[in-house]
Every structure is written in C-alpha cells, then in structure tokens.
Symmetry: C2
DNA sequence: GTCTATACCAGGATAGAC
DNA sequence: GTCTATCCTGGTATAGAC
C-alpha cells in the first residue's frame, strides 16, 4: 500500500457516509418539501425509500420503475411516499442533488496535499473509495442524468467537468514542477476519469474477479503515472 | 499516423456501415416478424424508425420514449410502426441484436495481424472507429442493456466479456513473446475497454474540445503501450 | 403520519377503413 | 401498406378515513 495513504477501511470509517447519514443530510436539505416533522421518523422512512429507489432504478432504470413498485419494495404506501416528495421527478432531483455532496468530500481530502504526485494518488484513491462506498448513488447519478431537466443537466455537466478539472490541474502543476512529462493534460484527465468511472459502472465484473478497490486504485495509479513518466516501474508490486 | 494503418476516412469507406446498410441487414434478419414485403419500402421506413428511435432513446432513455413520440418523430403512424415490430420490447431487442454485428467487423479487422503490438493498435483503432461511425448504436447498446430480458442480458454480458477477452489475449500473447512486460492482463484489458467506451459515452466532451478519433486513438494506444512497456516514449508526437 | 380507495390520464396495442 | 379511431391497462397523483 502507498506510504501514508489510508486503507479503504480506514477511509470508510473516517468519512462516515452511511446510508443513514446521506438520508439525514437529504432530509435537512429538503425540510421545505418533506411534510414529516419528526426527524427520526422521516430519516428512517427516507432510508427505506432511497434504498428501494436506488435498487429498483439501478436494476431497470428510473423511468421504468413505477411508484407502485417503489411502494411495495419500500414497505410504505403510495400515500406515504407522497409526503416525502411531491412528484416522481422531485424524487429524482432529490437523489441527484444529494449525490453531489461527494464532490465536497473529494476536494476536502486533497486539502493540504501539495506534491503533485501525492495529490494524483490521493485523488484517484479517494474517488474510487467514495464510489465504492456510495456505489448506488454514483451509478444512479451517471445513468439517470439524462432524465433531469435541461437546467439540472447543465449542472450535472458542470460537475463532471469540475471533477475533471481537478485532475487537469494536478497534471499541469506536475508538468510545471517538472515531475510529469509534457503531454495533453486534458486527455490524461479524461481517460483517468473513464477508468475511475468504470469501477462503479462495471462493478459486477470486478466483483466476479475479486478485484479489490485497493488493487484497482494501485493499478490505475500505475497506469497514469506510467504515462506521465514518473511511475515506480521496476519496484516490486504489492 | 501509424505505419500501415487506415485513416478514419479510409476505414469508414471500407466498412460501409451506413444507416441504410444497418437497416437492410436488420430487415433481412427479421423478415419473419416484419410484415412489409417490399424491401425498398421496408428499409426506407426502418431507417426513419431507427433514426428516430435512437435519437429519442439516447436523449431521454428508451423506456421514457413513448411510441406516440416515436410515431411523430419518424413520420409514421402508430399502426404503421406495428407492422415493423410486434411490441416496444421487440423493437428494443431488434436494435440490440443489430448492434452486435459490429463484433464481427472487429474480429475481421484483426485477421492476419500477427504481431501483438500491431494487433493491439489495430484493435484499439478499429473499436474507436466503429463506435465513431455507429455512435448512436453503441450508446444505445450500453445504456439500455438493463432493459433487456434476463436471457438477453446474459448475452450482452457475454459480448462485453468477449470483446475484453480479445484484448486479454493480445496482451498475454505479447507477454509470452516478451514484447509486453509482466502484469495483470485482465486489468489492462478492462481499463482499455473503459477508455474506448468513454469515447462514445462522452462524445459531447470530445466534440467540444475538437478532439479527433485519430488523436484519441493515438493517445489511448500510447497510454496502454506505455504501461505495457513497449511505447514510443521519446519519439516525436504526430 | 399513514393507509385505502379512487380519479384521471398517458401509454401500449389493435381493428378495420382506405 | 398505411392511417385513424378506439380499447384498456397500468401509471401518477390525491382525498379523506383512521
């Protein structure tokens, strides 16, 4: 494992992004539209709803999921569902917005890491770890972006580019300092993101092969560093 | 450009996978269920239908596309649509099956290329070129796989693994011959596919940046070859 | 806060005229 | 071969009892 980096389990414990915390955050951020006033009740039911919604949507797609299904899968009646959101579309937007909180975690984790190579490793690991913990949210966010309103779609695209920009900046800085070789930083960032996304888009494949997040993180880091000309080629692999 | 490789335009002319050819092939493969007997009529209408279906599906998702929309967008009445497929699900499966023909083109293009490094380059270029020509089909196939029946889903997964296997084999052979260094061939193949898929999944991004397929192909090849330890590091970039 | 019952409409599908 | 008119299921959403 990389020197000074948290292991996946350590990371998971530290960020504490459990379903419950996500749902509490979602509740607090949507007090206006949610009719239930008792927090414990609301959070408990939101967990059931979101768990069911993410499961069903990720299996067959959000628009193919009917609210009747959502009702039976979550154990709440149709009527009850509508006290938590005002329309199916509203539910979609709540999930989408909540998924965006991870970006803050990502940037927070990079705080204070100055060395470009270290930043690169940290960014890759953090992104993978986050998507491992919140896989259903990431998957949903990726697959259902097209169902959003025009306006929200713009925001989703901005978010995509913002994450990518994060990698572009790291690469450029490394080039300025001279530890990365000269090359197209935007393309490097683009394919790095592609590799990171594959982890949650094709989770079944990696699960079947028993590839761990740690292993995948090491691998992606090696590939990118290799291209940037600063890899650990020749060192023993973990 | 790589020695001896076709340019994108040469490739496009050679394979001739126009919308019309795809639709003719689709017609011939579905004579049983398509009620229209005159080939020119059928192919013409299928082009309208598929063009509309791919556009709408790729914009909002297949299940969110109503047949009324499809009707007005394609210029055919509801009744006419149903002479080309027996149900919405049937339409989905026709598109999905037709998308699979590209695999044959991919393998055909590798025929006779023995050298692992050349095979790798060829496989990457061909995959990207194909997805560039048939982007709507690739995109559809990727995004709507979840709507297929259990049985067809298995087939889709097999197809995914088969393409990947193609890359795994190339890498392994290169390792046996000693031109690629020792590493996890499955992971290399996996991330290679991820990069290839990004080309059609995030087409808007590359279009906006005016990245050409040729350029992207060169780049992906460089990244993979770099990791495999056989790159052209130091040579002048095109 | 939660449920059941119901309103209402959009969607897939088809019959039969042309 | 194609269109229009229509059927009817199943979807979203709500009213009102508990």
């Amino acid at each position: 494992m990389a020197k000074g980096e948290l292991s996946f389990e350590e990371f998971r414990r530290m960020v504490s992004l459990s379903m419950e915390n996500m749902c509490r955050d979602l509740y607090l951020g949507n007090r206006a539209s949610i009719k239930i006033k008792k927090e414990p009740v609301a959070v408990g039911n939101l967990m059931k709803i979101l768990d069911a919604a993410l499961t069903l949507s990720n299996k067959k797609g959000f628009s193919a999921m009917s609210l009747r299904e959502l009702s039976s899968q979550s154990g709440l009646s149709m009527g009850a569902l509508y006290t938590y959101f005002s329309s199916k579309e509203d539910l979609l937007h709540m999930i989408q917005r909540e998924s965006a909180v991870v970006f803050d975690v990502l940037t927070a984790q990079l705080e204070g890491v100055r060395d470009p190579q270290a930043r690169l490793r940290r960014a890759i690991r953090t992104h993978l770890f986050l998507s491992e913990i919140l896989r259903p949210w990431f998957y949903f966010s990726y697959m259902e972006a097209k169902n959003l309103s025009k306006q929200e779609q713009k925001k989703a695209i901005e978010a995509e580019l913002l994450t990518e920009k994060l990698f572009v900046d790291i690469v450029r800085e490394g080039q300025d300092v001279g530890v990365f070789r000269d090359c197209d930083a935007e393309l490097v960032a683009a394919v790095t993101k592609a590799m990171l996304q594959d982890w949650y888009l094709k989770r079944w494949k990696y699960a079947r092969r028993k590839t761990t997040v740690e292993r995948y993180a090491e691998f992606v880091t090696d590939v990118v560093e290799g291209y940037l000309g600063c890899g650990r080629r020749g060192e023993k692999k973990s």
